[in-house]
């Protein structure tokens, strides 16, 4: 798969630190599962963690910590983690498939406008949300800016906007000040996984973030 649009460097850093906001993190993981390039970038950024771990002022361990350690090792019936359960939809990257309880083709979409189907996965009190969007070929989404961060992973079909052409595997990791107006390519529905995170001043106003997509 040839991927043209990747994660922002800042996203790579936050992901490697384990501190990317939850909703954004799952979209990033979906992209990383498909993208060797970004996987290598995350690995590189993880070295920051190693360097910092090494420079922390060590905390003394309890007396007998090592003995306890070996006791646990001796007593454990530990086995290596089973390599994953069967994916609900093997056409999707694992981190995305894990969010669904049925294959993408069987998902029930809530029609929120002409040609637009919405499937909300999560909508949080802190204003962040995670949802799937399915848009008909040729459809034009409203021109919109972003109240907060928005990250979009293309799963099916393709769209074009001011930035370029986004196809499966591509991620649009947009700054909050980026405005764009995606136009879906002819041929196939475009299905995307989208995460939004509200800035502090909008916390609790979820509909505002969904507004461009659902036409509230």
């Amino acid at each position: 798969m040839s991927i043209a649009y990747h994660l922002d460097d800042a996203t790579v850093v936050a992901y490697a630190g384990g501190s990317l906001a939850d909703c954004l993190s799952v979209v990033a993981a979906g992209h990383i599962a498909m993208c060797d390039h970004c996987r290598a970038r995350v690995r590189r950024a993880e070295v920051f963690g190693a360097a910092l771990l090494d420079s922390l002022q060590p905390e003394q361990m309890d007396a007998g910590a090592l003995t306890r350690m070996f006791q646990r090792i001796d007593g454990s019936d530990w086995t290596l983690p089973q390599s994953g359960k069967v994916s609900i939809d093997s056409t999707l990257p694992d981190p995305v498939a894990r969010l669904l309880d049925k294959p993408l083709d069987q998902i029930r979409w809530k029609t929120t406008g002409p040609g637009i189907g919405l499937h909300i996965i999560e909508r949080n009190e802190d204003g962040s949300s995670l949802f799937l969007l399915k848009v008909r070929p040729g459809h034009k989404l409203p021109d919109h800016g972003h109240a907060g961060q928005e990250m979009t992973l293309i799963l099916r079909g393709a769209y074009r906007d001011q930035i370029g052409r986004f196809a499966p595997g591509d991620v649009a990791d947009l700054d909050e000040d980026t405005e764009h107006q995606p136009v879906i390519e002819e041929g196939e529905d475009c299905v995307c996984l989208i995460a939004t995170e509200a800035p502090a001043r909008f916390k609790g106003i979820v509909p505002r973030l969904l507004q461009p997509f659902v036409g509230i």
Binding site: R44, A50, L52
Partner: protein, 200 residues
């Protein structure tokens, strides 16, 4: 730097930074191949107190941090055979184990979403990555790069990696726009990239 200052009560001479990384890789290999408790004890002695400090950064009390450290080191013992030197240093590997554990246990809801990139390594059939994979020899240089980062860049890296703060939380804490936090992270990342490029 405060590296390697606590490894005092072992027989071997205190290794320099690069050879320390080699040394850890050797110890981990011994753990994997022969289940050497002596080698493991040495790793535990070095990493245990650092992992405990790491866990306490996020607000775990000493008791919980001790437990989490034990869990992380058990994972090191059990997964030693899965460590691949080509993917980075032992310290980086142990950092990722501790990071994942901390997300699992100390974060309210993050665990469902966080996916470790190790989970995809096998899935990939394209080994030709266009990025440098960090070898263990390069670790020390990155540590050096971290030390020379401007204070404002280093600060956001510390908050993201050690204090588990999201970009938005960092922006609020520092009272700067989100874009500023991101650009500091980008600059820090590129600076590290430049250090690695120089090695080529």
């Amino acid at each position: 730097m405060v590296i390697a200052t606590i490894v005092t009560d072992i027989d071997r001479p205190k290794p320099a930074r690069n050879s320390q990384a080699e040394h850890f890789a050797g110890l981990l290999n011994e753990v994997a191949e022969t289940r050497s408790r002596q080698a493991f004890a040495e790793l535990f002695e070095h990493f245990g107190p650092r992992l405990k400090a790491f866990m306490m950064r996020k607000g775990a009390n000493a008791e919980l941090a001790e437990d989490l450290t034990q869990d992380a080191m058990i994972a090191v013992w059990n997964k030693a055979g899965m460590f691949s030197p080509g993917k980075g240093s032992v310290t980086t590997w142990i950092y990722t184990i501790a990071r994942n554990l901390r997300i699992d246990r100390l974060r309210r809801e993050g665990s469902r979403y966080f996916t470790d990139i190790d989970e995809y390594e096998e899935a990939s059939d394209d080994p030709a990555s266009d990025e440098v994979v960090i070898s263990r020899e390069q670790d020390a240089l990155v540590t050096g790069a971290l030390d020379v980062l401007p204070a404002d860049q280093r600060e956001v890296i510390v908050m993201a990696f050690m204090d588990d703060m999201t970009q938005t939380e960092i922006a609020e804490k520092l009272d700067v726009p989100l874009g500023t936090v991101k650009s500091r992270m980008r600059l820090a990342y590129r600076k590290m990239g430049a250090v690695l490029e120089d090695l080529k």
